[in-house]
């Protein structure tokens, strides 16, 4: 590849990182505002999260707990950025390969593992319990999510995310996967899995403040916490984008020369709606215990996902 090509790729990479963080932080801020309205109060300004990150990054002392602690955070952020690169955003996918639907699933696990590594290195028992819970949570929500993913792959006969998005965008909204009955129930299962990925109630078990004092984050402070917030912002975008890509046609509604602008806006609106739905659910439910969450995913959600899988299989055979 020539130099110009590499330069363009790097520029786009930086643009992705900036778009990812800014969108994530903005949405988190608007989310706080929405939750505040539910709570009957005014709430912080929508740009509050930018200020928070700026403040955390400008802290003067930053206590590290060894090189694993430092490295783990880097691990998480690079993992989540890589995930973002593999996801089609408004139909545009930066990196692609065959079977990237599986790849994304694995890449999404990397940040959690990095997180676990860092929290483990901090040596706080609360963090240890939190990490255990986070790993169990990952194990629980992956099952229904993978089943729905397999259903999609069988239906579209591909393992490439880009193909799934392209197939769904042929006729605009009408061809989105969510318009089909089997995928409606699959989308429900996947949305619950998304709730777990975003760590919102009733699945905010790994970071429960009243139980384990915010779990893995307990020893993070200053710049480390700031980086963690950046990671969370990107993760929010990546996880909701995955859902949009799988069920909502990646937000692709227009084709043509400048269609990507429209698609980008539709994508933004869709991930925001998903995020808003998630925080509204969070505002009205208590949290589960870990074994209850596990049971919920493996009993009810997995069965729902399996029904959709069988349904899709019958449809495909016919």
């Amino acid at each position: 590849m020539d130099m110009i090509g590499i330069a363009i790729k790097i520029t786009i990479l930086i643009a992705y990182a900036i778009i990812g963080t800014c969108t994530g932080l903005l949405f988190m801020g608007i989310g706080r505002k929405i939750v505040a309205r539910v709570h009957n109060r005014v709430g912080p300004p929508f740009y509050q999260n930018f200020i928070d990150v700026a403040k955390l990054l400008s802290k003067k002392t930053n206590i590290s707990h060894g090189w694993i602690f430092d490295l783990a955070l880097l691990f998480s952020i690079s993992g989540i950025l890589l995930t973002l690169l593999f996801l089609p955003i408004g139909g545009v996918q930066l990196l692609s390969t065959d079977g990237d639907a599986f790849l994304v699933l694995y890449l999404l696990a990397i940040p959690s593992l990095g997180f676990a590594l860092g929290a483990g290195a901090s040596g706080n028992p609360n963090a240890g319990v939190g990490v255990m819970r986070a790993l169990v949570m990952m194990l629980s929500y992956e099952l229904p999510f993978v089943i729905t993913l397999i259903a999609l792959m069988i239906y579209y006969d591909t393992t490439s995310l880009a193909t799934i998005v392209r197939m769904q965008s042929i006729n605009g909204i009408k061809s989105w996967a969510i318009t089909m009955p089997p995928f409606m129930i699959a989308a429900f299962a996947a949305d619950m899995a998304l709730q777990g990925m975003l760590m919102e109630q009733p699945f905010d078990i790994p970071v429960a403040p009243h139980e384990i004092a915010s779990g893995p984050m307990v020893e993070f402070g200053g710049k480390y916490l700031g980086s963690l917030m950046l990671y969370k912002a990107i993760a929010l975008v990546a996880e909701t984008t995955l859902f949009v890509d799988l069920f909502l046609g990646g937000g692709v509604v227009a084709h043509g020369n400048f269609a990507f602008v429209i698609n980008f806006i539709v994508w933004l609106a869709l991930i925001f709606l998903l995020f808003a739905l998630s925080i509204l659910i969070a505002a009205s439910f208590p949290r589960f215990r870990i074994e209850q969450a596990f049971g919920f995913y493996w009993k009810y959600e997995a069965i729902i996902a399996a029904i959709s899988l069988i349904w899709v299989y019958i449809m495909v055979i016919k």
């Binding site: 539910v38 709570h39 009957n40 109060r41 028992p125 609360n126 240890g128 319990v129 255990m132 109630q201 009733p202 905010d204 078990i205 429960a208 403040p209 009243h210 139980e211 384990i212 004092a213 505002a283 009205s284 439910f285 208590p286 949290r287 589960f288 215990r289 870990i290 209850q292």
Partner: protein, 374 residues
């Protein structure tokens, strides 16, 4: 995973104030719990021995922070017993109203903080905001939001303003409306049932022996309430029924003495308190509001032992006052309700509990550390 130690508190969101539980945890199960209190010990009982009888009134209300009025009432009643005073009828009714308003405020706080402990942050926001309207009533009546110093030996400090009943009625109506929303969010929430039913059960046959009182005892199926056992203020003239375990009104009864039942009892007693206040406002007679005091600086209280008890939102509050006929009390000993269920009972309930449930068990017991430590 090998056994490890966990400290819940004193700086921890999942603790009911400034106290600490030292937990030994194996996997997810607590194998041993030890309560560590004393973070709020101000030595009130020592301070009271060196102050005049009237000077103690501003001190006693600091003993239970969420519900200060019960302390003033209990101390005043103990002094009245020693002085052989019968307080005016109007003062009795005003005391009833103030104590019940304080009870509603304390329950709103308890329910809110419980809801926070299981992760539903909407309810604390609502209930604390609504509690503030009750504090507004207190502000109009007594001049202060939290520490009122309103109930005095011999009656109440000043008469109730003529327009206050209207404000009280308005606030009560508002809170009744809001309770329906609370039901939707917490008390009829499926996840709440999953979390709370069968968790943190007080063994009902042991409850009395362990010294459990108040709503926690009523959740075990014993309908004991100091308001009925030893009626103080105007409770003997007011018609109300005690809420106790199997009869939970519109809510389903599940298991006796668990977190669910304890919280439902609190929820129902808010409605009961509202009914009591309405009756008291209707029946309130016109008379003096306070007896004439002797000069406070030379006020000697006759010799003797007196014990006064009041039903607070947390349980039975008792004041044991000993006088040797002097200017100052010889001894004032406070029985805080949390003294039993915060230390002994909580230690026993936490043993074998899941660490996810530790916080909700503590909040559902409604432990108030200042009344343990004083």
């Amino acid at each position: 995973m090998k056994e490890y130690e966990l400290f819940i508190g004193p700086q921890h969101p999942g603790i009911t104030g400034n106290m600490m539980y030292h937990l030994w945890v194996d996997g997810d199960t607590v194998t041993k719990a030890e309560c560590n209190v004393g973070y709020l010990h101000r030595g009130f009982e020592k301070l009271m021995e060196s102050r005049l009888w009237m000077q103690n009134i501003p001190l006693v209300c600091r003993i239970c922070v969420p519900e200060p009025d019960v302390n003033e009432a209990a101390y005043s009643m103990a002094v009245e017993q020693l002085m052989d005073w019968e307080i005016p009828d109007r003062a009795k009714y005003i005391r009833t109203i103030v104590l019940e308003l304080a009870r509603i405020a304390a329950y709103l706080m308890a329910i809110g903080s419980y809801a926070g402990s299981i992760g539903i942050y909407t309810l604390p926001q609502w209930s604390m905001g609504d509690r503030d309207y009750i504090l507004d009533i207190f502000e109009q009546l007594t001049g202060a939001r939290v520490y009122h110093i309103y109930i005095w030996p011999g009656g109440v400090r000043w008469d109730m303003p003529a327009d206050l009943p209207r404000l009280i009625e308005k606030t009560l109506n508002y809170i009744e409306e809001r309770l329906k929303l609370y039901d939707d969010v917490l008390f009829e929430n499926r996840v709440f049932f999953d979390r709370a039913i069968g968790v943190g059960k007080i063994p009902c046959n042991k409850a009395i022996e362990w010294g459990v009182t108040g709503p926690n005892l009523r959740a075990c199926g014993y309908g004991y309430d100091v308001r009925k056992l030893e009626p103080y203020a105007a409770y003997d003239e007011i018609d109300f029924d005690i809420v106790s375990y199997p009869d939970l009104g519109k809510f389903d009864a599940h298991e006796a003495g668990d977190v669910y039942t304890r919280m439902i009892i609190r929820r129902l007693e808010i409605e009961q308190s509202i009914a009591i206040i309405r009756q008291a406002l209707k029946k309130m007679p016109e008379s003096e509001h306070i007896l004439k005091h002797p000069n406070w600086l030379r006020w000697k209280v006759p010799e003797g032992y007196a014990f006064a008890r009041v039903e607070s939102s947390k349980g039975e509050f008792g004041y044991f006052v000993v006088s040797d006929g002097g200017l100052k009390p010889v001894r004032v000993h406070v029985r805080g309700p949390s003294y039993t269920h915060g230390i002994n009972v909580a230690e026993k309930l936490l043993q074998g509990a899941n660490i996810a449930d530790v916080s909700q068990i503590l909040f559902s017991l409604d432990i108030c550390p200042p009344d343990i430590e004083r």
